[in-house]
């Protein structure tokens, strides 16, 4: 038997249902369950990839149409020479290929970067 002042203890209802945090809703679950938030994640990825694709196609168009129109607009373009060879032939026969390869490298690197950014975003809890 103990005597003396009894320490006052406060008893409360734990209210577990209300207090416990809802299970984490990860972005990947949002995407999986096709919620509006998931849609927003996907749309942002698709938009960035689409912008990249259009930029690359636009660059191809500018380069190729540029050469075609230069031939039509400037008669001197057709007769100028580079290293002893006709300039248009050097341009379209040789020099255009490194440009295409560089654009391809850019497209691959940039789209992988977009995907990595998206993966990081979705994995962030």
């Amino acid at each position: 038997m103990t005597t003396g002042p009894v320490k006052r203890v406060r008893i409360t209802h734990p209210r577990t249902e209300a207090a416990r945090r809802a299970p984490a809703r990860t972005p990947s679950r949002e995407i999986d369950e096709q919620t509006e938030l998931g849609e927003i994640y996907m749309r942002s990825l698709i938009r960035s990839q689409r912008r990249l694709a259009l930029a690359v196609c636009g660059a191809i168009g500018v380069v190729l149409a540029g050469i075609a129109l230069a031939g039509a607009a400037f008669p001197r373009f057709g007769t100028s020479r580079l290293l002893g060879l006709p300039l248009p032939w050097v341009l379209l026969g040789v020099l255009v290929y490194p440009v295409l390869i560089a654009l391809a490298a850019y497209a691959v690197r940039q789209s992988e970067r977009n995907e990595r950014a998206f993966t990081d975003l979705v994995r962030r809890r």
Binding site: M42, A53, W89, L92, A104
Partner: protein, 610 residues
């Protein structure tokens, strides 16, 4: 060794090697998926060489040089477009398409739009484009064999058919991957070595191209096969035996500048320095204008160039054999990297046809008289280099040409056969595997037999030009379907179907008119010969307008499909991106592959890292 014997040896070697590679793959071809897409386990380097091998067709190997000889600078758009087309494909469709998990273009249409009707329309188009592309391959084979060995024109195509059917039906796609990767390197070396030798010889001789009309570089005897109408650019006296303008002649004939008719089996003797009369279908411009942009001598050359660029850049993604090949990549990221390697390989290859075409103008201009310019690459080595060396180089070039026909024809045959066996012969899904494989083999025979029959009547349009028409149809149909399907969620089945039908019908009509009727002057001729510039925007417009009008028909699962097309591979384990009844989600793919192949087997050369 004579030129004929060397060519026969070269052709037989390529044919036997392809058949052996096909049989070698046969032992591995165990399952249906092995047959269609090499079980998706081909590494990027092998796959890139195989894609290049399949893509470099008769048009690239023979056609471009021939067109350059005849038309000049404007033809350079063909090789540039063939390469840029892969860049467009890389930017717009490569990775999403691989992730869609479809085997063929009709599969993609069905997965994306959930409609069997659109699938059927896509199947019809695959067969149409495939056949349109196969005809020039088989004609090229006939031409090559006839030029190099004097065999009848039907023989070359028949050899290609026989080899392709035996290789394809025996081994399916897997064996082809290996064979085609080798064929790329064969084609590349078979053009590179002669090109370097020719450049060296040319440097050594100090020859140059003068700016006047092309003249014979040495005494040449030309035999005219059929009654032909030719144009003499200048008045001159040539030695002719046969018929000219209805008169029988045997000796020197004075030809006034202008058009003349030359009878069948006439022989024309050209002495060094004689100006070459040009067959009426080809332009007879001076080399000075030939060197210039827009100097091809056609009507509306600027429109023709721009429309051609558009057709080739956008048509590449719609070629059936190109897409099937992409499904053999393990995932979307690898697909992009493979495509990059392909662009590098193509860039290296396409430097070469220009060299042949430009030398052709100097050393084999007599082809302008017969109109047989597709033979430029085949004839150049022997013309420029006398003796054994020339014979050997010519045999090498012939081997490369046959590699080109075989690889493109087998790739196309696989894709067309896949579609025919799935959608026309249509075995039930649950039928026994052996029956499905049998229907694939039947499909292969139909896939190449029909274009062979179509290739027999001799139509002269130029290999690269016919292939250009196949590109135009692909650009006006599959390009809008793929681009909108991948990047625009509101595309509906009704929109896709109307677009495919409208674009397909109009482009095909233009193509057929060009091939059958001879409309080649004025704006009408230009528009029909190069339909892409109006047909592609039209198809896009139709698809978008009809889709917006039928908004209620949007595929219910489009959100999930978009996730599957665009979500990076790193996330596929977390996201359940597969669709119900899916046979190809990346994760299941790998496990099923291990499941149906005994693990003790050695991997196929094409499936391991070299």
């Amino acid at each position: 060794m004579s030129g004929h014997a060397a060519a026969v040896v070269a052709v037989s070697a390529v044919a036997v090697a392809t058949t052996v590679a096909g049989t070698f793959g046969l032992r591995r071809a165990r399952t249906t998926s092995d047959f269609y897409v090499a079980a998706r386990a081909v590494t990027p380097r092998w796959n890139a060489a195989a894609i290049g091998g399949e893509y470099l067709s008769a048009a690239s190997y023979l056609g471009i040089a021939g067109l350059i000889l005849a038309y000049g600078f404007d033809v350079l758009w063909y090789p540039v477009g063939y390469t840029a087309g892969y860049l467009v494909l890389l930017a717009l469709v490569a990775a999403p398409l691989r992730r869609s998990g479809a085997y063929t273009l009709p599969d993609f249409a069905e997965i994306r739009l959930g409609s069997v009707v659109v699938r059927r329309a896509a199947s019809v188009l695959v067969v149409l484009i495939g056949w349109l592309y196969l005809v020039p391959q088989l004609q090229g084979a006939g031409l090559t064999l006839a030029t190099q060995t004097g065999a009848p024109h039907w023989a070359g195509g028949l050899i290609v058919c026989a080899v392709v059917i035996s290789a394809v039906a025996a081994g399916g796609m897997r064996s082809i991957t290996f064979a085609q990767a080798l064929q790329f390197w064969l084609k590349f070396l078979a053009m590179l070595i002669p090109a370097l030798v020719l450049l060296f010889v040319w440097q050594h001789r100090g020859d140059s191209l003068d700016r006047g009309y092309p003249t014979a570089s040495a005494r040449t005897v030309v035999t005219i096969a059929n009654d032909t109408s030719v144009r003499a650019p200048v008045t001159e006296t040539l030695t002719v035996r046969g018929h000219v303008d209805g008169r029988t002649v045997d000796g020197p004939v004075r030809l006034a500048a202008g058009t003349h008719s030359v009878g069948a089996h006439s022989t024309v003797v050209l002495r060094r320095g004689d100006v070459i009369p040009v067959v009426a279908d080809l332009p007879d411009q001076r080399t000075g204008s030939w060197l210039q942009p827009l100097g091809s001598g056609k009507d509306h050359p600027l429109y023709a160039s721009l429309s051609l660029i558009l057709a080739i850049c956008l048509g590449t993604m719609g070629l059936p054999h190109v897409l099937v090949r992409f499904y053999t990549n393990p995932d979307g990221r690898d697909t992009r990297r493979t495509t990059f390697v392909v662009i590098v390989l193509l860039s290296a290859f396409y430097l070469l046809p220009t060299v042949f075409g430009a030398f052709g103008r100097r050393y084999v201009p007599d082809l302008l008289l017969t109109g047989n310019t597709d033979a430029t690459v085949l004839l150049l080595p022997e013309r420029m280099i006398a003796g054994e060396a020339g014979v050997l180089l010519s045999a090498l070039v012939t081997a490369g040409a046959f590699a080109a026909f075989l690889s493109t024809a087998s790739g196309l045959t696989v894709s067309v056969a896949g579609v025919l066996s799935q959608d026309v012969l249509r075995p039930a899904r649950d039928r026994h595997r052996a029956q499905r494989i049998r229907s694939f083999r039947l499909g292969a025979i139909a896939a190449i037999g029909v274009p062979y029959l179509l290739s027999l009547p001799s139509q002269h349009l130029g290999l690269a030009a016919v292939v250009g028409l196949a590109f135009a149809v692909a650009a006006a149909t599959f390009c809008p379907l793929l681009v909108l399907g991948i990047w625009w969620r509101r595309l509906t089945d009704a929109g896709a179907l109307t677009g495919l039908v409208a674009g397909g019908a109009l482009a095909t009509a233009a193509v057929l008119t060009t091939m059958i009727a001879d409309v080649d002057t004025g704006w009408l001729g230009a528009l029909l010969q190069q339909p892409a510039a109006w047909a592609v925007p039209l198809t896009f417009a139709v698809m978008i307008a009809v889709s917006l009008a039928t908004r209620s028909r949007m595929h219910g699962d489009v959100g999930r499909i978009m996730v599957r097309l665009h979500a990076p591979e790193a996330l596929t384990a977390e996201l359940r991106v597969g669709l119900p009844g899916d046979r190809s989600s990346p994760v299941r793919d790998r496990s099923s592959r291990q499941g149906d192949r005994p693990t003790t087997q050695e991997p196929h050369p094409a499936t391991t890292d070299a």
